[in-house]
Amino acid sequence: MVSAVILLFLGTFFLHNNVFASYVLPYPSYMPGNKLYRLSRLIDTFNKYWYFGNIAQVKYHLGLSDKYLVEAKTLFDYNQYLLAIDALHRSSDQFAAIMPNVLTAEQSGDDMTQFRSEIQEASIAHKTVITTLLQTTPNEFLWQPERASATRLYIHNELSTALSIQ
């Protein structure tokens, strides 16, 4: 009994080193086709001005990067490859916009250690999603709309590029 208590006591000091809160991606928001999708995108655009400041911009870009990645994944799951790649591009663009704000905040003297760690966790979560997509999607796909010319989609190339940005 005593040894069990000692083990439990020591465990509280050592075991916690291996435990960390994993980064949680959001639920999918409005998807293309929904009446509120355009409004949601419009709000995303205006929010850029509301989220002024370097830290707020980090939160803004990270939030949108997550949101658009989840949108892309959902669209890939439903084989909506053209829309999915567009969402993937937007997610990558938003992710790429994070670090300049982190650097500017650091230059102005703000300690960004917590945010750097959060961005790293987000990057791991994003990579997991993209890697899964690489395994579940075709390498290429010929997107043939009913009344427009066909588009060849290099899905794996797009996913690999997105992976390299993370």
């Binding site: 002024f52 830290i55 939160k59 703000d110």
Partner: protein
């Protein structure tokens, strides 16, 4: 002679109170490295944090003195022993001294200061970024509620830029600057009270009440900004000029954008009430928000009494004696709420029950007394 004695009493008691208040300076906050200050602060701090029963007793004595002086000043004004000039001098001297006190019963001023710093120094949106998200921000050491985004509306947020700039980055100077800024609004409020009532009694009733002295001048709560804008709005909205009405609506809108509580004042305006009827309904609506909604959100904070207090004093005493008496009873009960924490050093345990009791007893006694007075006057009325 009496006037001088009153003024001297205020000078002595407020100076002692200012010195006493510096015992409560947060242990993580060094306001000055001056050896004289450090020596005095060390002694006062030991008293404040180690001799809790004694320090609670001293605070209670200060409260009693402030209430006695308040009653005395009111009586002298009522008897016309204090004239306008004397009242201005007494109020100016009292505020002028108390503004230098340390905010000993509330930490909100540090929250104002840090929020302003987030916006005007870090250039971050305080509605998005919490102070705690900048771990190397020096003011985190003595700011409570740093794990929250801005709690106040844009009117206050923008106004807070003025005292923030005037603080020149020095914590003590910024604290005094915020208190001075809020006190100037209070003085504006006193002017407005006089403008509405033409009664110095009303000015004294509000301006020298110990709750106003402690919660506004000493603690620097922004509720006075919201209420002065609200009273200005209601006052102007009763005028016939379109320009006055326009400014009135703007003032009311700005007031709502300080804290939101004054949104209820739209109700009497929609009912097209005017004069004392407007002020009475405003009083009871804000009293209802205070008594019903604030405990649901957090608890009955003493400074919330400023909301209805201002409307109690702008009505004549002969028709609003109950409201004015109730407000004064609340001001006693609410200021006593600081005692349990001062005595125990923590909020939990018997704290909530004691705080409720300390508030309910003076208010309850006043309500019972006023009901008896009313019954007696009715009884006497029937007999005659």
């Amino acid at each position: 002679m009496k006037k001088l004695l009153l003024l001297a009493s205020y000078v002595v008691s407020t100076v002692l109170f200012v010195i006493f208040s510096y015992g409560f300076v947060d242990k993580n906050l060094v306001l000055s490295n001056n050896p004289l200050y450090l020596g005095l602060h060390g002694w006062l701090s030991a008293l404040a944090f180690n001799e809790r029963p004694l320090v609670t007793g001293i605070y209670l004595v200060f409260l009693v003195i402030f209430f006695v002086l308040y009653a005395w000043a009111y009586r002298m004004t009522k008897r016309r022993e204090l004239r306008g000039r004397d009242i201005i001098l007494t109020v100016a001297v009292t505020y002028g001294i108390l503004v230098f006190a340390y905010s000993l019963v509330s930490y909100d001023i540090f929250n104002y200061m840090t929020t302003a710093k987030m916006l005007f120094t870090h250039h971050e949106n305080p509605y998005i970024v919490m102070p705690i998200e900048i771990p190397n921000e020096a003011s985190l050491a003595f700011t409570r509620a740093a794990n929250k985004v801005a709690l106040y509306g844009p009117t206050w947020l923008l106004l807070s830029g003025i005292p923030h700039v005037l603080g020149f980055g020095n914590v003590w100077l910024t604290m005094i600057s915020f208190k001075l800024f809020v006190t100037l609004w209070l003085i504006g409020g006193l002017y407005l009270i006089y403008k509405v009532t033409h009664q110095w009694q009303a000015v004294i009733l509000f301006g020298l009440n110990p709750l106003i002295l402690i919660e506004i001048v000493v603690s620097g709560h922004n509720d006075i900004v919201m209420m002065v804008l609200a009273l200005l709005g209601l006052h102007l909205l009763q005028k016939s000029s379109v320009v006055d009405k326009l400014i009135g609506w703007k003032a009311l809108a700005l007031s709502i954008l300080v804290k939101g509580a004054t949104a209820v004042l739209i109700v009497p305006l929609l009912l097209k009430l005017k004069g004392n009827k407007l002020y009475r309904m405003s009083f009871w609506l804000l009293f209802a928000v205070f008594i019903i909604f604030t405990p649901l959100r957090e608890e009955l904070y003493p400074w919330y009494a400023v909301w209805f207090f201002l409307f109690a004093v702008v009505m004549p005493s002969d028709i609003a004696w109950f409201e004015q008496g109730l407000t004064i009873a609340f001001s006693i009960g609410l200021e006593l709420r600081n005692l349990p924490y001062m005595f125990m050093g923590y909020y939990a345990g018997p704290g909530p029950t004691l705080r409720t009791l300390l508030t309910v007893v003076p208010v309850g006694l006043y309500v019972v007394w006023s009901l008896r007075m009313k019954r007696n006057s009715l009884w006497n009325g029937k007999k005659t």
